[in-house]
Symmetry: C2
Subunit: 437 residues, 2 copies
């Protein structure tokens, strides 16, 4: 389980009942505040986003100071350098975070969009309209930029947000929430639109997950353990994001010159992300030509290969190679590691992917129309890509604007989620006295 | 909690591990079968629906015989007449159930619908396409028609279904599932597309709720207790259906002659349904004119009034009247009972509805544009209706075709759900070697 949810940040002496009451009070205040926002105009929301951005920049020195406390605690606790780096804020990073809020202001407002509508035979005017969810809960790890990001996304989509960040960023997050609240209040909006329950530790997170009816949706952001814990424990509906055990399959009909950069880009353009490739499957008919070339190119990028026997046989000297075990087919490395297997047929590739896919992104490289059609209709994933890098599964790349995350579940949202996915719909029906016969 | 989930139908001696293994085997077989269906054409699916309909009609005599066993057990157990009636099947009812399958065949296929698409600046062709969920679980009470209905809806939307019906209909359901399976097999489709886990009793239902990853969505159909139990216990994503504590508000600006039939129709056109009105709110300015007339009309329909003092004062002689308590504002009567309250303002009406609404359907009767606008933008429900009966919140009435249920949750589906709500989407991306810079 993630450090976020096990860390006993709860103050000593606070009883479970106290925490429950406190979190439910926060949730009720959020629900109340969300009503004010539901009828706010886009202009009011965009003005608030700009005010929030300006306030963060104005408060940068104080934020850096609070962040220094977090960093000091992190260093004292032996936190890894990579995590310390994700936690660290300076004026430039705060400027970038503020700019992201301004970019949100420039995006269209999803609220009020008419999804469909018609006039019924009896004259009733029917329309299905996007409305805010109400209260969005976010549970995430030690990245203070997510605090601002989540607040901005929720605000633009008309929702109040309740934040539960990692205890490692507690000082930074507390000050950021205070600054954002002041900015909202100055705009005439309730500061309860952005609240944190960090003070209530893990017990608070558990109460948030139980606040069904007050919290409309929970979005966990972070590692697989964090996400699975929330999925398992929450009574509030959850949007599951992120785990990507993505495959690239190089078919017998592949253009191998085109496939090579696709494999390299999918694996190495960025490694710590859910849409990076973790397994390469190569059809036996092209393995002799393709494998030595791709393994050499991967070696030049410092990739360690976890391969089957056929891959071992094809590996040029100097390739860092380990025999693949069952665990390799299952693992989302998020590092410069790649599992590689030679398959005898498209069917074997499809069967392998069906067994090990996390339902995120699967890629085929082929010139064969029938193979492409089978790959895109017989597999079950958020994105199925033909002849392009797995790294394109991304809200920005898809042109959806700001991305809340990449959903790997089937309900409500699948794949990259934009602002629209933080809304629901209402049917509005207008009549002139119609009754049912 | 509902009788369906508490009845100890599990056979003595069957261990929890055995039930778990059996239900997971059913779920795996369903997942496997769903693959065959995912790529079936609409013509194949429609042919299967017609074959299922024909097989039910051909097997009507056997079904009536099996149903007689259920009815006998029900009578012996002292089942209420109304429940026995819902359980009973005869040739005419079986014919109607079969016709519903034929009507499903006539509806458009949601699978393959392109929801949106574009060509990205880098030349990638992007489209979001509807695909089946995979495996749908249905947990419902003692109505054998739901067995067929659920099987048909799942098949048309390309999904395998796992059924858990009430033990009261066990004999009818077992035979119906067998007949549907034979019909599917004769059409060259796997009989595992329609499976029942009734033999595993409550323990089986619990395992179904835990089969996350194998079962893609659970739809409970039945009373509020059944639905809440599933929502609370399920690890599989749930679509919550049905509870409707619906209000009709007669505004100061109402056309009272138009409002009267709307109130009557909302309350009495059918009482045991989720879109029937349960509370009437009347603005004080029109109460003197409207209340005596509407109470007299409701009396003529045998409606019992649970009212506040102002309502009592306005009630004509002969009206069956009980003073309203807090419980009356909260209750979904599903009977010839109506809670009635006089309010001083639109704000008071909105506050009352916000407090007691189950988020299903809310109605305003008014000629005042501003009041209508506030009602439809400040309330939070699946359907908000101006000057028409609450009974219109219905998939058939909305022109959506067959209805799976009426969702009162905000995630994935809200309001009447058609076949499209049993699907998810996949992003299909076609390129020519594009990689990310």
């Amino acid at each position: 389980m993630s450090d976020t949810l096990v860390s006993p940040a709860q103050e000593p002496g606070a009883s479970a009942v106290d925490v429950r009451t406190a979190v439910l009070d926060v949730a009720r205040a959020a629900k109340e505040a969300s009503r004010a926002l539901a009828t706010a105009t886009r202009a009011q929301k965009d003005a608030a986003l700009h005010a929030m951005a300006d306030a963060l920049v104005a408060g940068a020195a104080r934020i850096v100071e609070a962040n220094a406390d977090d960093l000091e605690r992190g260093r004292a606790a032996g936190m890894k350098t990579s995590l310390l780096d994700r936690l660290a804020l300076d004026a430039a990073r705060i400027g970038a975070i503020a700019d992201a809020l301004r970019e949100l202001a420039a995006l269209p407002d999803p609220v009020g969009e008419v999804v469909r509508g018609s006039t019924l035979p009896n004259g009733l005017r029917l329309r299905q309209v996007r409305v805010p969810m109400g209260v969005v809960g976010m549970i995430y790890e030690a990245r203070p930029n997510v605090t601002v990001d989540a607040a901005g996304l929720a605000l633009k989509s008309g929702n109040a947000v309740i934040l539960r960040g990692g205890s490692a960023a507690a000082s930074s997050n507390a000050l950021i929430v205070e600054i954002l609240g002041d900015a909202l209040a100055a705009q005439g909006l309730p500061r309860e639109l952005v609240q944190s329950i960090d003070a209530h530790g893990r017990a608070g997170a558990v109460e948030l997950m139980r606040a069904r009816g007050l919290v409309d949706v929970l979005v966990p952001r972070g590692g697989a353990d964090l996400i699975q814990t929330v999925v398992r424990e929450s009574l509030v509906p959850v949007i599951e994001t992120g785990v990507g055990n993505c495959h690239v399959y190089v078919d017998a009909g592949a253009d191998v010159a085109q496939a090579l950069p696709i494999v390299l880009n999918s694996k190495t353009q960025r490694t710590g992300v859910c849409n990076a490739a973790e397994t390469l499957l190569v059809h036996r008919d092209v393995a002799g030509e393709f494998l030595p070339a791709v393994l050499e190119a991967l070696r030049a990028k410092d990739v360690t290969i976890h391969g089957d026997d056929a891959t071992a046989a094809a590996a040029p000297a100097g390739v860092r190679f380990e025999p693949a075990t069952e665990a390799d087919w299952e693992t989302e490395y998020l590092s410069l590691d790649l599992a590689v297997k030679v398959v005898d047929s498209l069917d074997e590739a499809l069967a392998h992917i069906r067994r090990y896919s996390s339902g995120h992104t699967e890629v085929i490289c082929t010139r064969d129309l029938a193979a492409a059609r089978r790959f895109t209709t017989e597999l079950d994933a958020a994105a199925l890509i033909v002849n392009a890098s797995s790294r394109f599964t991304d809200g920005g790349q898809f042109g959806l604007g700001a991305e809340i995350g990449i959903s790997t579940q089937k309900l409500h949202a699948r794949g990259p989620m934009g602002l629209g996915e933080l809304t629901t719909t209402t049917w509005i029906v207008e009549g002139d006295g119609q009754i049912r016969e």
